[in-house]
């Protein structure tokens, strides 16, 4: 189809400052190599991602607990066509794993050939600092 006549809209750049004050120990924990979850002191529910408020009993009194990292992969995909802000990355594998403690985590899965990745296999969840300095976590091989 021939290009249709159009006007360019005014350009804006959007970067939001996302508050993390209520989950700061989580982000600090990643720097120390730990993946932390929160547990409600009132009803005992364990949360990952960590939360400051309990959606089950509405209490806001949580304690921080370190996760074992022992995970079973429940599903995965290999992302080839990437969004704008991930264009610089090589295609990546995203997985959802269930941890021994019962909570699930969605994260990248690294250190495996794609053909080796199977539903039901074991992996380890570890904290990570990316080369760009971003705080994150990923599933990787059991060592």
């Amino acid at each position: 189809m021939a290009a249709m006549p159009s006007l360019k809209s005014r350009e804006i750049k959007i970067v939001q400052d996302i508050p993390i004050s209520k989950t700061l120990p989580f982000w600090e924990g990643l720097k120390q190599g730990k993946v932390l979850a929160t547990k409600c002191k009132k009803c005992g529910k364990l949360y990952f991602p960590p939360v400051a408020d309990c959606s089950q009993c509405l209490a806001s009194d949580m304690e921080w607990v370190e996760l074992s990292g022992e995970a079973t992969i429940e599903t995965f995909t290999h992302v080839v066509v990437r969004p704008t802000t991930f264009q610089h990355e090589k295609p990546y594998t995203v997985a959802i794993g269930r941890l021994k403690e019962g909570v699930r985590v969605l994260a990248w899965l690294t250190g495996f050939k794609l053909s080796e990745v199977k539903v039901g296999m074991k992996a380890k969840l570890v904290a990570k600092i990316t080369p760009e300095g971003n705080l994150t976590y990923e599933f990787t091989r059991l060592e």
Binding site: I18, V80, V81
Partner: protein, 390 residues
Amino acid sequence: MRKVAVIGVGSSKFGVRNDVNVAELAFEAFKPSVEDAGISPKDIEFVAVGSTGAGAWYEELLPAVVSAEYCGLTGAGLVRCEAACASGSAAFTTAYWAVASGQAEIALALGVEKMREIDTPTMMEWIGRAGYYLWEFHNFGVTFPAYYALYATAHMAKFGTTEEDLALVAVKNHKYASMNPIAHLQNRITVDDVLSSMVIAAPLKLFDCCPVTDGAASLILASEEKVKELKIDTPVWVAGIGYASGTANLSKRLDYVGLEATVSASQMAYKMAKISPDQLDVAVVHDCFTIAEIMAYEDLGFCKKGEGAKLIREGQTEIGGKIPVNVDGGLKAKGHPIGATGCSMIYELTKQLREEAVEKGRQAPMKNYIALAHNVGGTGHYCYVTILRR
């Protein structure tokens, strides 16, 4: 709550519509809908607009306002509904409530989406954020196809569903789109075409994915009193509406082989309509990706859990089968202008139930004159199920 009927429907041509802006596209669907109902814009008391990308993938932040002015609807009650890819159904439900409650006699549900004004990676970026940005996109770049690919992997592992089974959904929906002049993709394809198309998010390939589409659909809803007063020949009644939602974090779902929101919403709709799935003559289901149609068969009760692939293999969801599904081409080939899709589904079913103006090859045979629309927002984040009866 009183009875509500769909008395007028209209749709734009779906596709890459860089010839029109959002208001002009809305008008293209709106005008035939008022003509179909035999009313004028000033008869419409309440307007619910379904649109998702306002200010993100198209320039207007208040599409309801600009579309309403452009269509001569200024002054009517007005709201924009957001339920991601189910925004059109959210708008339809809102318009339904306006009339069912007795507050309005005539209401409009207008779905409109302009998705082709930005480049593809930026579109992947925006839609990838349609989940839980902080926990699933920020560090992990999960795209929309990737979210459904997580379901596909799990479904294949648990039930033995294959990539060929997924491809059959695309082949069927392209077949019906080829007979639908408003469809975005009107080409016939083969299983091999799907299997050899490029990988987007494994196991999903290009032809497992719906296109990025511009489109609009418009629906006029009226009370039983108005239906009589206007002497509407073939009102299509809203027999049931069901709705539900799912967790923002995919990691918090019960499993990855079906959408709990679909199960809940459909059970609610069947109960309200007092019907069971086997009474349906035709259905449109949310096939943004081929796996989504297979899961929908199961979650809507067209077959048992895990038997969705069998249903497509046997041709049971084609015309002549047990329950024809997506005979307009579906999201997969007719196209998926996100906020318009829900309204577009009701547009198609209204035409099917009236047995009029649907191309011969894709008219589903009517026995009970009951049809179902299933519209999912996000990856099972929202779900609306609507049952219509002539």
